[in-house]
Symmetry: C2
Subunit: 554 residues, 2 copies
């Protein structure tokens, strides 16, 4: 399947297509494989108990000698989060910008992988060689600093991997998406564009990060007590704006929440923040200042149960929330978190805080391009082939429609499945076979050991609980102890005595019939017990607990 | 606690405050109790396996002779859904408009309660006496036909229960919210206003239902194959618009989904639809028509797993979806359903359908008033006391703020907890004690038998499954069979043999130690088994299954 020909290049998506998260794509040329990003996805509700979802990299492991390196576009979890799991099995060099590697370094340290990893820093605007791939790192605006698009050069033209981006015409630190570079690549001839579909359902342009500054300014101006700001810990521009407001309104800043403390530390070490001496205080010093002289910058913008703001909202934080405090939730609720965020905001209001949150305020802007910006990216780069990425199928479909409107030929737009190998040549692009791809579930220390059976059982257990029937028989098949019925998560024990007694009687009858007929095979006994209870319990309760016959022999 | 005095009236909310759903409120005056609405709430995710949540009515049961009747504002589940459960215990007369009672009748029929229920029809614009309460039914626009606000007359002025409403200036059947009646009540003097907070986070006015007509018209005009429309089955105005478009574009309409079939039947019987003869065909006739001559009107706008559109999206419906078909999802995703709706839309796009859904279209409008309309209701009625209802705490809080801006005195705005008795007099309103209130969980046939312990167990089971340790001992405490370890939802059995063997060995050691020490008490043995496995399993797997020691004695 390898490419012997300079005149073609293969693309294999391993994640981020038909889903939000676990972004990962392979570029193959001249027998060499370049990996772009290696992200995680956070599990949806049906993945009971699962902590993380990572891409299936078995194709890379089978072709490990051909993998030249992993290039990273930015430091968000959905782009770098799978690396600790991957590097344990495939130790190749990793390329990224200063902050991306800074965040990765912390992550690798906690997995004891840092010392044996090869991290190579590239500055935005610069190029690097990975194997024989020449890769340009192109600055883009996003909700994390130091984000880059990539141009991967091939004899057929550049592959532009725009990754996550927006065009912020008035960015916080003056560093705009490098429009000129994209225009230049468009002039030279772009073979293929891979572009972010996250916000393709939004008309117009995404607002500038600077808009948040105005809302923050109003909040600070009107606050008479302490101010709490919850934000994503990786959004350094947002955090810088909070620092700026604190300086302007003469308040000290205390940090709370592990990732906030960590990220601000990393950001300061790497020079991402402009922070006057003595601006940041330890949270224990906060009581040395009057409330109108402090800001708490904290985690919890997603209503995460153990994050700082959430704990504070339920009175479970060392700093208490007081009537008249101002709380700014400077983030949007990620789908799936809306209820938790709403609950936190309810609690904050209940405690008398003045809460400024997404609704009716300009307290958050997205980091992703809206439809006009997506068109601009298409028109700047003028790609021959187009791959909408980073989205569920409807997002990709709408983005493909947009590309058609902008002039990309219908046959040159690809919506592959994960694992499809798309071969691009001078004249055409086509699918040529597939490689293994999918999702690997991480649960605790287990990587890949939770599969469909375990998940099915967890789902069944979550809905109606379990009913265990335990019986001890002797070698002649005579019952010597039990049957006993024990339930968990099925019915409240008190009040259900009759139901359980009736069920036990049914099992006794079944067992004595089996004894009469000299049936001693456990599998038969078990299925007879199940049959005796299954529809009976449903009729009595309209519930279907997992029925679990357990037989012991003495 | 009863009111002996004509100069005061008590309000007791039993639901719909601090939550979305299970709306229910009591008005007490002169020893009589009037109940307003009796709704259900659909369970949030943490209520594993629970089907419905209904209000706690133990106060009404204890005071049953004083309950004069239940008045219903409209036929949505969150206003009438608890009635089957309540009427089983408290059979009082029920008052509502024609459609509200029509929908209720169907519901009571399926619970075998219809023949013994007392349903009293009131027309919008009319009044009725319930005990000594005089209640006006006032037409309002909402996403269901025949919706009413109520004016409950007291010597202190009217209590206006606005319930769910919007001001649609161009409604479908020409029947507008009765602005004049609200103005008149305002002139006469309104004691208290209870108003819908659902959309208080939205600026401006909610769009007219007529806007949807334009979008539908475009969709029908451009469709060359069959058209599928998914909508709430209770939104008769929406359904009428689909009928109108079908007439205009010369298509037949087939219905799919139980509630759609039911509701259209009820609506036609009661005269709510203008439908030419032969417009509606049986779904089995659909193949007698060319695809550009049919519309399927169906359930599934919320991505419900068994609804018609959802089944069609996965190819599990008698009518197949074909490339080029137009699908209109004419609804908004209720929070909590966003992922399921998104998934359905992905699948529809994948099958080549042209999907018109909420994003980038005007295919749905809300049935609830936005901020300007909420202000209008406040200004029309000019209440002395104000109760924001139908919302989580943040909605109520924002609605209270709005009322202050409009001129209601701060001390006259109430955000009670469920069960609080608020006494209103000429001069002041105050809280005086509480009655039992809260949520009763319905799971299958069980009403109230699922409580915190069962839910906790279901949650634990859903996260990491269960590990059962079974052992049979004799009367001397000697192990005669086992210990055996069986798991469900914990780890995939294949590949986990060593873990289970090691765990079994640990239990064996514990048991033999107990035997040596002549420990035979089951509770001690069980806790020793748990101790032996608890932190051990966590260390090995970073998971916490429910550990369930089961001891049998022979």
């Amino acid at each position: 399947m390898s490419q012997k020909n300079n005149d073609s290049v293969s693309i294999i998506p391993l994640g981020g297509i038909g889903e939000i998260g676990k972004n990962m794509m392979l570029v193959e040329m001249n027998d060499e494989i370049l990996v772009v990003d290696a992200g995680v996805k956070f599990p949806e509700e049906d993945l009971h108990g699962v902590d993380l979802v990572i891409p299936d990299i078995s194709y890379l492991l089978r072709n490990r000698e051909r993998v030249k390196g992993i290039v990273l576009t930015h430091g968000h979890e959905d782009h770098i989060g799978a690396l600790p799991f991957i590097l344990k099995k495939l130790n190749v060099p990793i390329y990224g910008t200063k902050l991306t590697l800074g965040l990765l370094r912390e992550k690798l340290k906690s997995h004891n992988l840092l010392s044996r990893s090869y991290l190579r820093q590239v500055n935005p605007g610069n190029s690097t060689k990975v194997g024989s791939f020449k890769v340009d790192f192109i600055r883009v605006n996003h909700s994390i600093a130091d984000a880059c698009a990539l141009a991967i050069h091939t004899p057929l033209g550049a592959i532009v991997y725009a990754s996550d981006f927006k065009f912020d015409q008035t960015p916080i630190k003056g560093e705009m998406t490098d429009i000129h570079k994209f225009a230049e690549l468009g002039d030279e001839g772009v073979l293929a564009l891979f572009s972010d579909s996250t916000n393709v359902e939004r008309e117009g342009y995404t607002n500038s990060e600077r808009q948040v500054g105005q809302t923050l300014n109003n909040a600070f101006e009107n606050a008479n007590e302490k101010i709490l700001v919850a934000s994503f810990a990786s959004n350094f521009h947002r955090i810088q704006q909070v620092f700026d407001m604190a300086v302007k309104y003469n308040r000290k800043v205390a940090l709370s929440g592990r990732s906030m403390l960590n990220n601000v530390k990393i950001g300061r070490e790497l020079g991402y923040f402009e922070v006057p001496d003595n601006l940041i205080i330890d949270i224990n010093e906060i009581n040395n200042f009057s409330p109108d002289k402090v800001v708490l910058l904290m985690t919890g913008s997603q209503g995460e149960p153990r994050a700082a703001l959430t704990r504070m909202s339920r009175g479970d934080h060392r700093i208490s929330l007081n009537k008249g405090d101002t709380v700014v939730v400077s983030a949007t609720a990620i789908p799936g978190n809306a209820k938790a965020v709403g609950h936190t905001i309810n609690q904050l209001f209940k405690q008398g805080a003045n809460v400024i949150y997404e609704a009716l305020s300009g307290v958050h802007v997205s980091g992703h391009a809206s439809r006009e910006e997506l068109k601009l990216m298409l028109n700047l780069t003028r790609p021959k082939y187009f791959f909408p990425v980073h989205g569920e199928y409807r997002h990709l479909h709408l983005h493909a429609d947009l590309a058609k409107k902008v002039g990309v030929l219908k046959n040159n737009i690809f919506l592959p499945d994960l694992g499809d190998r798309i071969v691009l040549t001078e004249d055409k692009g086509y699918t040529q076979g597939t490689v293994p791809a999918g999702r690997i579930l991480v649960d605790g220390l287990g990587v890949g050991d939770v599969g469909s059976i375990v998940l099915r059982d967890r789902r069944l257990l979550s809905e109606n609980g379990i009913l265990m029937v335990v019986v001890t028989i002797n070698s002649k098949g005579q019952v010597v102890a039990g049957p006993d019925i024990i339930t968990r998560g099925f019915v409240y024990v008190r009040g259900s005595e009759k139901l359980i007694n009736d069920a036990t009687e049914r099992v006794e009858k079944v067992l004595s019939k089996c004894e009469e007929k000299h049936i001693t095979e456990w599998s038969v006994l078990k299925s007879k017990i199940r049959d005796a209870l299954d529809s009976y319990l449903y009729r009595r309760t309209k519930r279907n607990p997992m029925i679990m016959p357990i037989i012991m022999e003495v």
